[in-house]
């Protein structure tokens, strides 16, 4: 279970803008530690955002997404007060879900 995400969702004129900051090391699998051993890749694989159980956005990340990934997207069809839930799963099958009300 990772650390909480920071999610901001604001509705304006029918379009909801979402900004997410996930807390994850996103280890690339390219780096070596002090003894010269490769540090194994450890990164978020998939991110799914849902409103009322309907997917509004899905992302697949490779190891080339920056540490503590940031995501910004916009969608239509949600109202203020609706709950937006965001779930990520990493390549060690660790997962985290956070929910915010759309403002």
């Amino acid at each position: 279970m990772g650390d909480p995400m920071r999610i901001r969702a604001t509705e304006n004129g029918g379009v909801t803008e979402v900004k997410i900051l996930m807390k994850h090391d996103m280890e690339s699998g390219q780096r070596k530690d002090a003894t010269g051993k490769v540090i194994p890749a450890w990164h978020i694989n998939t991110v799914v955002a849902k409103v009322k159980d309907k997917e509004v956005f899905t992302a697949q990340f490779g190891p080339a997404v920056s540490k503590d990934p940031f995501l910004n997207f916009k969608f239509k069809g949600a109202a203020k007060g609706d709950k937006l839930s965001v779930t990520w799963v990493d390549n060690r099958a660790d997962t985290r879900t956070d929910e915010v009300a759309i403002a």
């Binding site: 780096r31 530690d33 998939t46 956005f57 190891p63 920056s66 540490k67 990934p69 940031f70 969608f75």
Partner: protein, 150 residues
């Protein structure tokens, strides 16, 4: 008997059970496209997504800095006037070309912005799938400090 193989089988059985009992929802079980993320070049990535060559398009607008001081955090943004269903970001000279892939269901704006790592100065490509075809816009980003190696 190979004990490692036993472990793998057991793990697979557990994951299968979790998926079937609903512990993992359908969306979470959605396949991470390993083939695409293993691709070393734009062609590999496009092939993995089942597309042909990507067509250059002025309707895809791509925001990235000219010079990235820190290759570990390069902000990129893609937007388009096309009816996009998928967007992908590709860094040509990274060890694995594909950085991220986004699926946009109906009702989601054809816009996304995120941050990627770059090992060295490279062309960064924004791929947009609209009407079953891939369109591309590219930009060279100069990196003064790489973000992939140690």
């Amino acid at each position: 008997m190979n004990p490692k193989r036993r472990d793998t089988l057991r793990l697979m059985a557990v994951i299968g059970l979790m998926a079937s009992t609903g512990l993992i929802t359908q969306a979470q079980a959605a396949e991470w496209n390993k083939l695409a993320f293993d691709g070393k070049s734009l062609d590999d990535v496009l092939k993995a997504f089942g597309g042909g060559a990507a067509e250059k398009s002025a309707d895809v607008s791509f925001n990235a800095p000219d010079i990235a001081e820190n290759g570990a955090v390069v902000p990129v943004g893609v937007s388009t006037t096309l009816k996009a269903t998928e967007i992908a970001i590709v860094v040509e000279k990274n060890p694995s070309a594909l950085a991220a892939h986004f699926s946009l269901p109906a009702g989601t704006e054809p816009f996304v912005s995120t941050r990627v790592k770059m090992g060295q100065t490279s062309n960064v490509l924004a791929l947009v799938k609209a009407d079953g075809k891939w369109f591309v816009a590219s930009k060279e980003v100069k990196v003064t400090l790489g973000g992939c190696g140690g």
